[in-house]
Symmetry: C2
Subunit: 603 residues, 2 copies
């Protein structure tokens, strides 16, 4: 066995003979002596192979990058002036007594220090990519985070109970991955989108506190930060109020951040109503590091001559909203034009703005194509309500609420994270957690022509809102809460429905007929009959949290073997064609001619 | 929040007012007072509802079994003579001040104390079944075992790294569960049968020590103790010898048993060669609690007149093996006849035996239909080698080795676990772990007409056996080891091949052509080229270990939501038909007419 990991050989080992295992990170011949940087998961140590020992020297001479080596040698202090303060082992070197090549390597397609690798190269040669110190660090940090979650939950009486991976397709939600059954002709399992129903059943079964760090699956077109399989820290508890659950969950998150990063998150987390989050940030996951807020001015311009503003009252939930950006008068016109294009992505028709050059001069001190359309009084009220100072720019959105929120919410982030924002104090680095609570129960789906659940159909309405389920679904709010960190939803949860009659009402609101509900969710409705306890929970996105903790750009940097945006594994070439015999056993056939092997390989 | 779990209210709470949540396990009306046994995951406490408090009493009067309740009350000592020593709370009761019905229950289909429930009833009403104290205990013990594994591995530098669930089908092995790809028409993912290749890739990527508690999948016809999805404690490490790996793994198992059951397993575990295990126990997973051994007598009877015995030399690897059962002369003839039928299950044509009534009298003291066919010398040698004493019975198997081992190995267990065996000291209760090591590399598959891997194709041959891979596969042995406990394989592992040329030779021995190997395992062969380290590992079957620890009859008793032997979930009715639209998106169609809904429901 090794004496110690290479990366951990420090001054305390001086004078000791150590056995090390690792890889030749770099080999250099310097003044007739061969130096090998031996690398293992903990880091590097310098190994010195002297010509005095001809056998060692000859072996070292054959050694190339990524050769797998066993080294036995004496630890000694490095000569003065050659120390490397960046390494734990930077003060020492190992004088090699025995060197064994455990396995040779062909020349790697890239050096591990190369930081300019394409993602395709990295995923194709993932084994080499994972040897890079940054990836080693990321996956170990991810592990430490997962373990910190487990330790906290364990010490608070939560029990990890495994729920099935082969389960039932319930089309309410995202698209399922299906698994054909061999035993039951024509039947399919689905991979779970989350263990939602099972964890509720576990509460009904009296386990009281449950958790699981578990793979979930969604067959959706992948955005940059989505994977077909992702990992949730899934939690559920009985007999606690929304406040009590949130208190435990934010304590959990504080503990994890403290333990893994030695970072102190706010205590307590700020709590924001969903309505307020939308009004002030245009988002249900506001990034509070950005010091900008939206201000609604619909009432001020309700009767304005400017039809773009006053016209919103004819829209369903039309709004005029302002975003004041301090000091933005210095922005070049080209930047403002770019923002005008930017908000169009979110459906905005344009981006009205007012530059506040000198507010004291009234209309004369303002510069904007729209100033002429607004009355003195309207202008004065806008300046007053937004609190605009000389040098500020006020941007406006005027449309249906969703478009205004989406576009100005995105603009707020864009400006906050821009060079301008960072250099003018609109962005405060750090960790900004908060709760967003009391989400709407439903949102209207134009596609399905019906109300659909914002969270999921098992979410409990706020006390007193049960009656609105059918009569006023738009204004029915839910006991739902999201944990938000730096603009990302890191966890989402709710109190669940524990009464059969409420659950049936929600299905009705969602236009899931009685028979359909019974067929798909009969087991849930049955279980609710047997004294189901009040319960609720949350699910944290571990991939996302690990990515943020690592400061990585992509969740693919905290997953050992991720898939591409085409849901492909470049390493194993999954998915792949299978044998006809396998399909026959599963009672399915392909709709289209199978591709030839070489077509597949050449994709 | 609750003050304490109901089951944990003990004398230390006397005089305190406590808040409890739970279920009415039983309600009885006794002398005008209502007693409710309130149950939660920790157990029961007796709640007393007095007519002095009319509101409480009226609510208690409405209360029925499995109602979900909140209780606030004063803990007091039970009257002398009414204590229940079986409960932690047996010395106290809670005088109820406030009683709230959180949720009513319809009458449950069975009482939770009922121990005679069919498995179908239990799985159909799994939520109620899981409320039973035994199931609560089982799943919590399983959790504690899993957590004990984690803690040990964590403290020994092993890192949990998640491997993909959507991976590539590699038909070498059991049947895969397939997942059709929506993005890649005609292509399929497979659910992993184990993370074998990925954990090897992680070693090649330099993570050094890996573990994962992970779901694996096999689409096989289910035997009593198999599930389509099962859980492995999967472990891999680099740079360690077989002995070093086994030392860590048995220390792990000792620690888990000590921590969870307070049981001390042997230190060290006995180590048995596979050849010896087969010769002495007819099994590669001997149950050492049974104090019986097989003895080979092929040589003694090689030239016997008795053709049943001497004829085995014409068979490939034919053997005559004896099993001496001390004191079995007292067995009724009917029991011996039953064993004769029993061994036929394993392919034996019959079960010869000799009753040793009085060995000193030679042939006269022996009783058996076969004695007349054996010479005095043969009989004397058999008595001597088996060590038979007066009163013993010697059973014989004579056939190809596999049939003899299977049948006598099974007979050994059958007798050892029988009433006879237990009453005559042939069975020693307790925990009997051991290692079985040096398995053959291959076994011959009559079905496939080729050699197949005993363990898997990535197992390293014993030092010096590489040359036999192609020239003498039958006698090529492997660096493979199983951990066996009380006759069950609880873990299996091996040192893996870390050299490309050895791996290619094994594929050749398995008749996996170069092109096929490249197509299916190219990513492994590629990775081996880049200085792959020597590595090896093990996988433990968590379901099996938990079952043994719980003393349960079936792994279904340690899985929250198991499947039936038809791979069906009786609770959710998975697998189930899906919508045509879903199949279209996946580019597949059914081969046969879909069943009608009511056919499905009626299955």
């Amino acid at each position: 066995m090794r004496t110690v990991y290479s990366g951990l050989v420090d001054e305390s080992f001086i004078g000791q003979t150590v056995t090390l295992y690792g890889w030749a990170h770099r080999r250099r011949d310097h003044g007739g002596v061969i130096f090998i940087d031996l690398r293992d998961r903990e880091g590097l140590v310098q190994v010195v192979c002297d010509p005095d020992r001809p056998e060692v020297f000859a072996t070292a001479d054959k050694c190339r990058n990524e050769y797998c080596l066993k080294v036995v040698g004496l630890v000694r202090a490095r000569p003065e002036g050659t120390k490397n303060d960046n390494l734990i082992s930077g003060g020492v070197e190992v004088l090699c007594h025995e060197l064994e090549i455990l396995n040779a390597s062909v020349t790697p397609p890239f050096h591990l220090d190369d930081e300019n690798l394409s993602e395709t190269t990295r995923l194709t040669y993932r084994v080499l990519d994972l040897r890079r110190p940054q990836m080693q660090k990321n996956l170990r940090l991810r592990y430490r985070a997962a373990m910190a979650f487990r330790k906290y939950l364990d010490s608070h009486g939560f029990i990890d109970i495994e729920t099935p991976m082969l389960t039932r397709s319930t089309p309410e939600g995202a698209r399922d991955y299906l698994v054909p059954s061999r035993v039951q002709d024509g039947c399919f399992y689905a991979l779970p989108q989350s263990p939602q129903l099972f964890k509720q059943l576990l509460m009904m079964a009296g386990f009281d506190r449950y958790y699981q760090i578990v793979k979930c699956f969604r067959d959706e077109d992948l955005r940059a930060d989505r994977q077909p399989e992702f990992t949730q820290v899934d939690i559920e508890t009985s007999f606690l109020s929304m406040d009590e659950i949130r208190a435990i969950m934010e304590d959990l998150m504080r503990t994890v951040f403290k333990e893994v990063l030695d970072v102190e998150l706010a205590n307590p987390f700020p709590v924001m109503q969903w309505d307020d989050a939308m009004a002030k940030y245009g988002s249900d996951k506001p990034d509070l590091r950005v010091n900008l807020q939206l201000v609604e001015v619909t009432d001020i311009v309700a009767d304005s001559q400017f039809k773009v503003f006053s016209g919103v009252k004819s829209l369903h939930n039309g709004k005029v909203v302002a975003l004041r950006v301090p000091g933005a008068c210095t922005m070049p016109r080209s930047e403002i034009d770019a923002y005008t294009e930017f908000v169009k992505i979110y459906g905005a028709k344009g981006l009205a703005y007012i530059k506040v050059n000198e507010a004291a001069r009234g209309r004369e001190g303002l510069q904007s194509p729209i100033v002429k359309n607004l009355s003195d009084d309207e202008l004065a009220q806008i300046i007053a309500r937004t609190g605009a100072k000389d040098g500020d720019v006020i941007f406006f959105g005027a449309d249906k609420a969703k478009i205004v929120w989406d576009s100005l919410g995105a603009l707020r982030l864009k400006i906050g994270h821009s060079e301008f924002g960072k250099s003018t104090g609109l962005f405060t680095p750090g960790w900004q957690p908060l709760w967003v609570v009391n989400f709407p129960m439903f949102e209207y789906s134009e596609e399905d022509q019906r109300w659909v659940s914002c969270h999921h159909p098992f979410t409990c309405p706020l006390d007193g809102h049960e009656d609105k389920l059918l009569t006023d679904p738009e204004h029915c709010y839910a006991k739902a809460y999201d944990m938000v960190l730096n603009g990302w939803e890191v966890g989402g949860g709710s109190i669940r429905i524990h009464r059969e009659e409420v659950q049936e009402k929600v299905f009705e609101a969602l236009k899931i007929g009685k028979e359909e509900a019974r067929q798909k969710f009969g087991f849930l409705l049955d279980a609710l009959q047997f004294g189901a306890p009040p319960h609720g929970g949350i699910a944290f996105g571990l991939d996302r949290i690990a990515t943020m903790m690592c400061g990585a750009d992509s969740i693919r940097d905290v997953i050992a073997f991720p898939k591409t945006q085409r849901a492909q594994c470049l390493l194993t070439q999954a998915p792949a064609p299978v044998e006809e015999k396998q399909l026959r056993e599963l009672h399915i056939r392909l709709r289209n001619e199978p591709k030839k092997e070489h077509d597949i390989a050449g994709q």
